[in-house]
Assembly symmetry: C2
Homo-oligomer: 198 residues x 2
Amino acid sequence: MARTYGGTTMADRKAHRRRTLLDVGTELLGTKGTAAVTVRSVCRAAKLTDRYFYESFAGREELITAVFDEVAELAATALRAAVAIQAPPPDLARAAVDAFLGVLTDDPRRGRILLLEPLTDPVLSAHAGDAMRLFEALIGSQLPTTDPVRAQLTATALLGALTHLFTRWLDGSLPATRAQLTDFCVAMLANSATADRS
Amino acid sequence: MARTYGGTTMADRKAHRRRTLLDVGTELLGTKGTAAVTVRSVCRAAKLTDRYFYESFAGREELITAVFDEVAELAATALRAAVAIQAPPPDLARAAVDAFLGVLTDDPRRGRILLLEPLTDPVLSAHAGDAMRLFEALIGSQLPTTDPVRAQLTATALLGALTHLFTRWLDGSLPATRAQLTDFCVAMLANSATADRS
DNA sequence: ATGGTGTGACGACACCCGTCGTCAATCAGG
DNA sequence: CCTGATTGACGACGGGTGTCGTCACACCAT
């Protein structure tokens, strides 16, 4: 029987503190960007003394990569569920775009964490790079081209297009409805899937 | 007759110091990113005392926006020259892509300064935003669609695609030759210019 | 009550930053 | 030589950072 303090076990308290730090990390990274995430700023916002930061994380790098990983896993899970359906490619693409957008609109901070900050922050860009390469390879493998260079160019272009569309839409500077955006993305993906046939 | 010191006029020395600061700003912003650009780091690298920083710039914001503006002006100039030729659209697109890539490959730091850092740095993003909106409007006005929403979606997608393609190619992670990349971009632009006709 | 554990606050240390005033040395023109 | 301009170095001030040890107090189980 674990000993309690304040009515909870040490393991529970530790988990709770870790959760709090991740939440604050998400808030700072997703609203102000990577420079705003420091050990002290996070602990200040979390109302925890910085000893507890080191209880869960070796340093800021570990925190921001953990925050990124949480969001990436959310997105991946949603995508996996969406494309698990048995449907023709256009419906799959629509389901995928819808699912991804759903994850982003459920919490707009996620767009910045998943799509923007990794473009310039050295820690995130090194960490996220593999995930992004994976996404590209996934997109690329769906393309009906036998030319690997062309496949990668297309996948990169698509990822770039989607990144810009999503982030711009999320920040309110794209005057499109969600349905219009979804339709456009689906058509764009479909167009790429058939472009080599022309 | 302006008084001289060390064989040069005050105006010349001031101009030289400003040039040096801009060069160092370009180096730091283009290789390490915005966080590495501080008044002290710039002056250290420029081997100037920080009094001289304030001779030309009110603060770091003014320096990084000046650095961005220099690169943007280079790109704009190259683009204007490239599309001044009398040629059919595919040749215009090719000339534009070639010119833009030329500016970037002449100095790879420019890709980061022009395309990446403004995505996340608040100062640059606010400052570059208008230039980017202009680029988008320009691309959009070349599209044969009467639907303004669709035009903007397309322009945004294209800008995103180009951004990713260029930055990924510049960092060496796209295994394509420059000719392959150029061909792809030209085809992509051409495809978008005709996509609405389908 | 006792001894051990957990917590919050804080100080230490060494570093960084932005901004600017001061001082000593050098340069320049009359 | 004299006086004023220019330069380089540096310190001041007030803020921030990462990391971690210490202390006083509160909590807990026995």
